[in-house]
Symmetry: C2
């Protein structure tokens, strides 16, 4: 496994592999790798001869009151996990390599970023879109893999790649969960044992919605209300949002009469957790 | 000469040429080609085996009150000029190819775009940066050539390419002028014969500044005032700006004690003209 921190060298390794006829898969991460990330690596390995992972805690996607400083950075464990997973190339740059003095360019995806997490984290998706646009140039892979856990991020990045004609396939992969349903997240380490239990209300609420929709419930407001009650009953903290949206446009759906996405963000103590599921109404009987 | 309007085909031609070991040069234009554009093609031919020209009147860089509809589009003459100049590939897409329904992504270069033309054309450089970022993906050339006539545009694009790690060299080429000094511009066709004469005040004012700086004048405000008087004396229309700025940051320079750029934008009738020159103070004698 090759670990590089310089942009030209990184690009050269990817381009050389492609010139030799190999497909390259990229898994962009902020490190603190867990089973979710490793499932992306596995998918990349199935699709591509070379797998690259980037590890970069991107400062521009954190708000001033957010957990940039506290975000876990277990770089040695991350490198060991990459090595064990068969990763070929790790790009782990320092911040000044990604944002040298004078950096003033931002990639902004309008509309899709106004709602859900975007409404609660101003500038977050500008930071995400910009750093991913850069990573797609530094590691010009054939495919890039993102988890559906950050569903809005996946939709935003797919749109950005389409809109800017970036020649890279953006692949969404299923959320990986703990056996009890909690979505894997690097931020789960913030949770105490009791908060860890409380946090189960997110996935329980979402799975309840999945079940109700499968049984014919189509009333979006009612489904959201049901989820809200379950989360409040668990004694969780502030609910940033619970929404049912179109899977591509992220526009709210009042009636779940076609594929939809239920998304939520809830504070458990000082930890903001997000989760989401696909809602699939039963085929119409007529 | 190959003329294509589809993105995948265009990209394929460029990538194939590079795979065969050839350097590719790109000259992005809005068509209405004149001697200035052709000098860019010549420079590209000197540097590269394959030369590509894009012809696209980009709607997103025109303001609602600007001349998008009136902008000249002599496509047959442009193609003939490209053929005569030895261009290998022309990319001339329809607007819906560049901006299909749902396009919501913008590339923004902060700070550099707040002043000079950016202060008078809100959103203009967002449109420029976005379309050029796209063209750099569609035609992933080794080098791209831009005229210094649009000096701020050159600085903005160079910054954008650096900040987004685009693997393309941005090359600035000298402004091409008519024998009497008028900078070549596709918008010169808007000028009547008398306006054409009046328009000479732009380059005359700039050349006066060059001469005064060469003779030791370092007072920016005084130089600007001198240029303003010359332009007003010619009976020109509104002056959008006359400025002396740092060649890279575009910050105003009160004292011309090192290389600087004098830039101006002046209305001649309904035609807004821009021009600029390098100012080079004499080497200090001490």
């Amino acid at each position: 496994m090759l670990t590089v921190s310089e942009i030209p060298q990184c690009r050269e390794v990817v381009v050389e592999a492609q010139r030799a006829g190999n497909r390259v898969g990229l898994v962009p991460t902020m490190g603190a790798l867990h089973a979710g990330h490793l499932s992306l690596v596995e998918q990349a390995r199935r699709d591509c001869r070379m797998v690259a992972v980037s590890i970069f805690v991107n400062p521009t996607q954190f708000g001033p009151q957010e957990d940039f400083a506290a975000y876990p950075r277990p770089i040695e464990a991350d490198l060991a996990a990459c090595r064990a997973a068969g990763v070929d190339l790790v790009f782990a740059p320092p911040a000044e390599t990604m944002y040298p003095a004078g950096h003033v360019t931002t990639v902004r995806v309008e509309r899709l970023t106004n709602r859900l997490c975007g409404a609660h984290r101003p500038g977050h998706f500008d930071g995400v879109a910009t750093v991913v646009a850069k990573l797609f140039q530094i590691l010009p892979a054939d495919s890039a893999y993102f988890g559906e856990k950050d569903y809005q991020q996946l939709v935003v990045i797919r749109r950005m790649a389409t809109d800017l004609d970036l020649p890279i396939r953006v692949v969404g992969c299923p959320t990986v969960r703990e056996p009890d349903g909690l979505a894997r997240s690097s931020r789960n380490v913030y949770l105490s044992a009791s908060q860890r239990q409380q946090a189960l209300c997110l996935s329980r609420a979402l799975f309840t919605a999945v079940e109700e929709v499968a049984h014919g419930q189509r009333d979006g407001a009612l489904l959201i209300e049901r989820m809200r009650k379950l989360i409040e009953a668990a004694g969780a903290g502030r609910i940033d949002y619970i929404d049912i949206v179109d899977p591509e446009t992220l526009e709210p759906m009042a009636v779940v009469d076609r594929a939809a996405r239920a998304c939520l963000a809830v504070w458990i103590g000082k930890c903001r957790l997000i989760d989401n599921v696909a809602l699939a109404p039963p085929a119409s009987g007529r």
